[in-house]
Amino acid sequence: MTLRNAAPLPAPPFDSESAAALALTVGTPSPLTADDIGERRRVEAGDAAAMTRHIEELGLVRVDEEIPVADGATITLSLVHRRDRIPTSPLIYYMHGGGMILGNRWSGADVFLEWIERYNAVVATVEYRLAPEHRFPVPQQDCYAGLRWLEDNAGRLGLTLETALLAGISAGGGLAASVAQMVRDANGPRLAGQLLLAPMLDDRVTRSARQFPSGIWNSTENELGWRSLLGDLYGSDDVPAYAAPARAERFDNLPPAFIEVGSAEVFRDEAVAYASDIWAAGGQAELHVWAGAFHGFQLFEHTTLARGARDAVRNWLDRALGYSGRD
């Protein structure tokens, strides 16, 4: 279906303080099209170089590992931690966002740098291959391979999967949810939690997926992301749950989930439904729907809304990891 010509639907208004900050960030072409992908990735590569320099300046340890994946290729997985990490430092396995078509393993790294600082965590961030060059199941299998590699090398790396968390933002949140299901179905290690921030879970067009024809990660871009990932499968009933975790038939025996989403974004309804499905199956989930939050509202760190969301994540991490982070 084409959303571009649809009449605008009523939608929740933006949080006032976040809207003021958003009003200053003009200039990015919207909606993003397939033609913009190359240029955007070049910009992101520059941002990644700046981020790795920043990590070096912070004095953190960074180790790049080349890991084999299912189709014989290798991908990069970076481990980042403080020099004074301890034997019980928890592992957080991070999957970046970018709608399955953009981003690299340093996208959104600010978020996990905080976890390294507050919890003395070891973060593993994976360079999964992107659509449309690599359609489903490549990104999902790359992320899964990363986790199994961490499991295989846990002893050498001084890590345990017992206290490990999956974490992802946007498309990364969807990939984290997929990995959680794949690990469960393969009788893999039981993980301590999955942190799903504004996760991309459902290729089917929900009400919220129609409600936001413009803005950050709008209806059109969301369709582009899913079409790029799924190719000919897009719009069919044959999309597997590992591609779109919301399509799963079983929601039992998943790691406890933290799900965060905004009331004013495309992913709202699928995030709410995912939490409900986990609860219905007897699982543990914590759902935060931030009123008036649009996709990426957390970027404006100074707002009362973003600070509330940050505090909620910290509080859940305190519980999931079993100790309070240090300021």
Partner: protein
């Protein structure tokens, strides 16, 4: 993401930074943000802690450039060393940016937008201790904000989303039941101003009525009613601005611009007789002496003798179509300029 925040900040001292500042505060205002986001905006955009002190309201807000609420400063004297701006309403309130070593080019833009935003927001979030009379005055005053008009309308249990009309009557005129009104000092002296829903059919016995408008337009409707009420006479006790047609704006414009004119002097002379203006109005408003006599409740021959005298004084034929229009315009402008109301015992 920290870079993103830095990109938001208006550290660069060029024109685009001023645009950013204005956009930011305008968006907060439009979306009815609270007080603290305004102060936070100043801190984030300037890169320095920013503050707001309003001793009368016992408000002390201070935010650091990361957006954290910071401890209040002790007293307001210390903040005068930083770039600051005092409210010009005599409240003693002030805002500041804790930039050491003098202000940057954009600090004054930030402080002006900050103080303007805070003042409007304060008005919005403050309770109003209004009686009905005060509320009517706020509704019709051109200096009220739309927010204060909304509050006043709610206080009077008037709809805020449907059009209303302003009614102006002489100060001693009784108002119909249910019409909210108060005595207002105006350029015409003391008048009674009321606000009514457009569906109202019950008007004061003598009054002028403005056009139906949203809350924002009520001062305009008030100005129109002030014109209409001066055209009130025994023959036309209720004058609606809407029914004046183009004569309304024409008279309003002419009131101050048309100087002395023989027609006006002649009409003024007619006013010396108690029956003068009313007779002229009846003649101008009807198409025959007989019909005018009927309107006035006079015998035809009585009016005929008045008419003879009037024609002589006016110098034109008030029974011809052109003369009737000429008389009507002169009479209306005469009333507009001369009708005033004195204060009376309420």
């Amino acid at each position: 993401m920290r870079e993103l925040l830095q990109r938001l900040s208006a550290l660069d001292e060029d024109a685009s930074a001023a645009v950013k500042i204005i956009t930011y505060f305008d968006t907060l205002l439009r979306r009815k943000a609270g007080l603290e986001p305004f102060v936070r905006g100043a801190a984030v955009l300037s890169g320095w802690p920013a503050g707001f002190a309003h001793p009368l309201h016992q408000l002390w807000i201070r935010v650091d450039p990361s957006g954290n609420v910071a401890p209040a400063v002790e007293g307001v004297d210390v903040v005068r060393e930083w770039p600051h701006l005092e409210f010009d309403d005599g409240s003693g309130a002030l805002v500041w940016i804790e930039r050491p070593g003098g202000s940057s080019a954009n600090d004054m833009v930030t402080l002006e937008r900050l103080s303007a935003g805070l003042r409007l927001t304060l008005e919005r979030v403050s309770p109003v201790d209004l009686d009905d009379a005060g509320a009517v005055e706020i509704l019709v005053s051109a200096t009220s904000t739309d927010d204060s008009r909304r509050k006043a309308a709610r206080r009077l249990r008037l709809p805020v989303d449907r059009p209303l009309r302003v009614v102006v009557a002489p100060p001693d005129e009784p108002m119909p039941d249910g019409m909210r009104s108060t005595l207002v000092e105006s350029s015409l002296g003391t008048i009674r101003a009321g606000v009514a829903e457009p569906t109202t059919e019950r008007w004061p016995a003598r009054c002028g009525v403005g056009t139906a408008t949203s809350l924002h337009g009520l001062p305009q409707s008030f100005a129109q009613a002030l014109v209409a009420v001066r055209l009130v006479s025994r023959l036309s006790p209720v004058v609606h601005w809407d029914e004046l047609g183009v004569l309304g704006p024409f008279l309003t414009a002419a009131e101050g611009t048309v100087g002395e004119h023989p027609d006006l002097e002649r009409v003024a002379a007619l006013a010396a007789e108690p029956w003068g203006l009313e007779t002229l109005e009846a003649l101008a408003a009807t198409d025959s002496v007989r019909a005018a006599a009927q309107v006035l409740g006079l015998h035809h021959s009585t009016l005929q003798s008045r008419l003879t005298r009037m024609q002589r004084d006016l110098g034109f034929d008030v029974t011809a179509a052109h003369g009737r229009h000429r008389a009507l315009v002169a009479l209306s402008l005469h009333r507009l300029r001369t009708v005033r109301f004195a204060a009376t015992q309420d």
